[in-house]
């Protein structure tokens, strides 16, 4: 959960990007990192294997500015998508304030998407969270590829509760900031309610 410091007038929130292996979670963070002014971002940390697959997590601290005199910082994390890193995924969900599910729009990755959402739901429950109650948005990534499933079908399979969702191409940056803005907004409104 978020950390509010009245003494230094700061608020810190944790956003986790979740999704199947190779869906583009790290690419989302890399795009945000590239496009953010130097004074607003910290160092991006990637704990990756030699083949550039995320081993533990990617981390990007972002200072977006002030709200009502409080410096607002978002800590962006990704989880390793590959199935066998489940223990790491559970750890990274600790203290999460909001989740972005990054889906791979390609037809052959539909089963992996569905499995990953199920895995997210189960791992959140283990940490004491309910996916239907926490700030949550879905991103349909890789919309630029030829073999993609229609957004209607993705929505039906992956977003039955109709949370905010976005089409994206993380390599070009399309939809990346829209997704981040939406989740940040949901988190801040959640805070407003004093949760």
């Amino acid at each position: 959960m978020s950390f509010i410091n009245y003494a230094s007038r700061e608020i810190n929130c944790k956003i986790v990007y979740y999704g199947p292996g190779l869906c583009g979670k790290t690419t989302n963070l890399q795009y945000v990192y590239q496009k953010t002014a130097a004074d607003a971002k910290g160092k991006m940390i990637s704990l990756a294997t030699e083949t550039e697959r995320t081993l533990f997590f990617d981390f990007l601290p972002l200072a977006l500015g002030e709200i009502r005199g409080f410096k607002t910082r978002f800590h962006l994390y990704t989880v390793p998508g590959q199935v066998f890193y489940d223990a790491s995924r559970k750890l990274i969900l600790k203290g999460v304030d909001g989740v972005v599910f990054v889906a791979d729009s390609q037809e052959e990755r539909m089963d992996a998407n569905i499995e990953s959402v199920e895995n997210l739901r189960i791992n959140l429950i283990e940490q004491g969270y309910d996916l239907d109650k926490i700030p949550y948005v879905v991103q349909y990534n890789k919309r630029d590829l030829p073999n993609v499933v229609s957004v209607e079908e993705l929505r039906r399979e992956l977003n039955p509760t109709n949370v905010p969702d976005f089409e994206a191409c993380a390599t070009t940056g399309e939809g990346v900031f829209e997704t981040l803005k939406a989740i940040a907004k949901l988190i801040l409104f959640d805070l407003k309610k004093g949760k």
């Binding site: 959960m1 003494a7 230094s8 810190n12 940390i45 997590f57 981390f59 750890l91 803005k181 004093g194």
Partner: protein, 163 residues
């Protein structure tokens, strides 16, 4: 919720910094910082400007979480102390009050024994402060007296963050 929101107030923040400053002197440490178990930096003292404390905080919390996972696999609740020895600098990491992480960075001007001794004493003081803080958080929540800064937040406030 398993890990409720942490709210820090001026009074406890000052008390925590006093304990950390004392620990820095008595342990002959270079840097000391305190991190939330979720990876958020609470405060730090010493040569903090020389280090990327945000990243250190996040990786420390990740390290504690991973070590906690290892502990559970062998039937332990958690490992309360971690020590990393480098050629010049060393890290002593410990869990305080079950929910925050105390990190002490020291070099050859100090020793592991001295750090352990001083950390133990400081941990007791920090535990007392955090227990008071958590009690205060609970009382404020119960009485509805949260003085919450975001209660009046608007769509425009949030949009302005991204402009």
């Amino acid at each position: 919720m398993s890990n409720p929101q942490l709210i820090m107030y001026d009074e406890e923040f000052k008390q925590i910094n006093v304990v950390l400053d004392k620990l820095l002197r008595e342990a002959n440490a270079k840097v000391i910082f305190l991190v939330d178990k979720n990876g958020q930096l609470i405060t730090g003292c010493g040569e903090t400007e020389r280090f990327d404390t945000t990243s250190l905080a996040s990786l420390t919390a990740g390290n504690i979480a991973a070590t906690g996972g290892l502990a559970k696999l062998i039937g332990e609740k958690e490992f309360s102390i971690l020590f990393h020895e480098g050629e010049k600098d060393n890290l002593h990491i410990s869990i305080v009050a079950g929910r925050v992480i105390l990190v002490v960075l020291f070099d050859t001007r100090s020793s592991l024994g001295l750090v352990r001794l001083r950390v133990k004493k400081a941990s007791e003081e920090l535990t007392a402060i955090f227990n008071r803080l958590l009690q205060k958080n609970e009382e404020k929540e119960k009485s509805g007296d949260s003085e919450f800064p975001f209660a009046e937040i608007t769509d425009d406030d949030i949009d302005n963050l991204f402009s």
